[in-house]
């Protein structure tokens, strides 16, 4: 019994940290660019499909290299999109303009991906490491999920350090607080915007690759992923990476536990628990 509970919690947590990563990317663009990027979910799917495509193209290349290549490609795509399209949409006073533009982008990318790769569910094999596990006392932990956990932790620490300690991070924070003054002080606004978009897209892309190793994805998974990212941001109380991580873990555990009892529930209980928390917050006056 206790083994099952521990296993479920472990599975939920390893899924949840990926959700946290998706949410952190969305929070980054929202917090700094002040843009609700509805195309964020599609970057997760694009990341997964780029990795699937690269491995089928070069089956002998090690997985770590594939992940790096995918991350770079996603970052480039994110930066290009920001530079060419979203930046212009941001010049309009109404914040719903960039939001609707990114929604249009997500529709285009989703359908292009479906045309290019087919609408089927796909997944990414991880090889022999999938079977390996680590025993701690009576508990059995999969080696691959453990590695995922460590990897995500490293990514989170790195992102946090980048934002807090580097010159880029200072520019980002300055832009987020007072964009006008930051620009006066010589921050190259468009460049920093593109860099932030690249970082967010890279986070989404990596999370997409890791998600495709756990379960299958289709070109139409972007919407689901966007909703999860959004729930993570709302529950994690916007802007804090730690909040995003905790909210992600919570949603991951809800999903794994609910699937255990109701195998075709999909994300129903994840969405329901999100709405229930909202209702609770609304009733207790926490939402303002």
């Amino acid at each position: 019994m206790i083994q099952t509970v521990a296993e479920l919690l472990f599975q939920g947590a390893t899924l949840g940290v990926l959700y946290g990563m998706i949410g952190a990317g969305l929070a980054l663009t929202f917090g700094i660019l002040k843009v609700v990027n509805l195309a964020h979910g599609v970057f997760i799917t694009i990341g997964a499909f780029i990795a699937i495509w690269l491995t089928s193209l070069m089956p002998t290349v090690p997985l770590a290299l594939i992940i790096v290549a995918t991350t770079v490609l996603c970052a480039l795509l994110g930066a290009a999109l920001q530079y060419a399209v979203i930046e212009r949409a941001m010049t309009f006073r109404d914040p719903s303009v960039p939001m609707m533009v990114t929604f249009g982008v997500s529709v285009i990318f989703t359908n292009a991906l479906a045309q290019f790769a087919g609408a089927d569910l796909r997944s990414l094999g991880v090889g022999s490491i999938a079977q390996k596990s680590l025993s701690v006392g009576p508990f059995n932990f999969g080696l691959f999920p453990l590695l995922t956990l460590i990897f995500v932790a490293v990514v989170f620490i790195a992102v946090d350090a980048t934002i807090r300690k580097t010159r880029f991070g200072r520019e980002v924070r300055a832009l987020s607080d007072r964009p006008d003054i930051a620009a006066l002080m010589g921050v190259r606004v468009r460049l920093v915007h593109a860099q932030v978009a690249a970082l967010a897209a890279a986070l989404a892309g990596v999370a997409g690759v890791l998600l495709a190793m756990r379960a299958s994805v289709s070109p139409f998974s972007g919407g689901e992923n966007l909703m999860i990212a959004f729930e993570v941001v709302v529950l994690g109380r916007l802007g804090s990476t730690k909040g995003a991580l905790l909210a992600g873990i919570f949603l991951g555990i809800v999903q794994i536990v609910s699937l255990r009892f109701d195998s075709n529930a999909g994300l129903l209980y994840v969405h329901l628990s999100f709405i229930l928390i909202l209702v609770f917050w609304a009733a207790s006056g926490k939402l303002k």
Partner: protein, 321 residues
């Protein structure tokens, strides 16, 4: 011409046009045109929410699905005529939207948008898992337990035409009333409107419920014409994408814009079909047009066209951009 006579003329003109064409056109054509009218109606509703109410909802497909399923459930299981339910079900959905709106309004701007999408997903998942609603297999329209006799498409088309023109005239009247002024004031600044005595929350809720009822009416009409409903179809995001693209292309915050946008949508779709292009290509083209419109003419085609054609401004408009 005074405002009232213009409205009357619109209703009589377009109403008789849709009645006459319902008698003349083939049933295949009527089926297609009913869908066109439904899309135009849905777009008007989305535009009412986003363009006038400032609420960009990504979950309006929920109400389309509810309208369709409501019609099927009540018509199939009650002895009452299906035509009655096509009127009553949208009203019921409008009322049911009230508590949802009260919750969703706790979420501000973008959170509201995606929150609505989550709500729509939950609803779709619940329908898909409910035995009485046929789960993922869906339902067949059998009013009172019997197959539908005759060809409903003529009445449906005429009904959809009347409903659309009735909606547009209704919105014209609404936007010229105190409520319309309140909405425009809210678009310019909620605090200022509140200070001027507008009850922002109540006005938004009213608009939200009207839009829900309108989308449900569209869903009920459309799924009446198909005689079959399935959750993956009724609750699909494509309903929302059509509403948004049509409004954005034609002009958010105008009443003529969504009609113009619907014309663009149909032109693109029929061109794609005749060229043998896939549905995916159609969505890619529509998305590109929508993004290009937003970036070049953020107010949409109609406001730009109108100033080119020197058509005077006859309707209350909200601004964007």
């Amino acid at each position: 011409m005074t405002f009232k006579y213009a409205n009357l003329l619109l209703i009589i003109g377009f109403g008789s046009l849709s009645v006459v064409s319902s008698l003349l056109l083939s049933s295949g054509m009527l089926f297609l045109l009913t869908e066109v009218l439904v899309i135009a109606l849905l777009a008007q509703m989305w535009n009412l929410l986003a363009g006038y109410g400032g609420m960009v909802s990504l979950g309006q497909q929920a109400f389309v699905g509810l309208g369709g399923y409501g019609l099927y459930v009540f018509a199939n299981h009650s002895g009452l005529p299906v035509w009655l339910w096509i009127v009553v079900v949208p009203l019921m959905v409008g009322v049911a939207a009230l508590p949802l709106g009260m919750l969703m309004f706790k979420l501000k701007s973008a959170y509201f948008s995606v929150g609505m999408w989550v709500a729509a997903e939950i609803l779709a998942a619940i329908v898909m898992r409910t035995d009485a609603l046929g789960q993922s297999g869906g339902l067949v329209l059998r009013p009172g337990g019997e197959s539908l006799a005759g060809n409903p498409e003529r009445i449906l088309f005429a009904g959809a035409g009347l409903l659309l023109i009735g909606t547009i005239v209704g919105l014209r009247v609404l936007l010229n009333s105190d409520l319309g002024l309140a909405l425009l004031a809210m678009r310019d600044g909620e605090e200022a409107a509140e200070a001027a005595g507008v009850n922002v929350r109540r006005t938004n809720l009213l608009i939200f419920c009207i839009a829900a009822a309108g989308c449900a009416a569209g869903g009920a009409l459309y799924y009446f014409s198909t005689l079959y409903i399935a959750p993956t179809d009724a609750f699909q995001i494509n309903w929302l994408i059509s509403m948004m693209f049509v409004s954005v292309i034609g002009g958010v915050g105008t009443l003529t814009g969504p009609l113009l946008g619907t014309a663009v949508l149909i032109a693109v779709r029929e061109t794609c079909t005749s060229l043998g292009l896939t549905g995916g290509t159609y969505w890619i083209i529509m998305g590109t047009i929508a993004i290009a419109t937003l970036l070049i003419l953020p107010r949409g085609l109609w406001p730009a066209l109108r100033s080119k054609l020197h058509v005077p401004k006859t309707e209350k408009e909200a601004t964007i951009g």
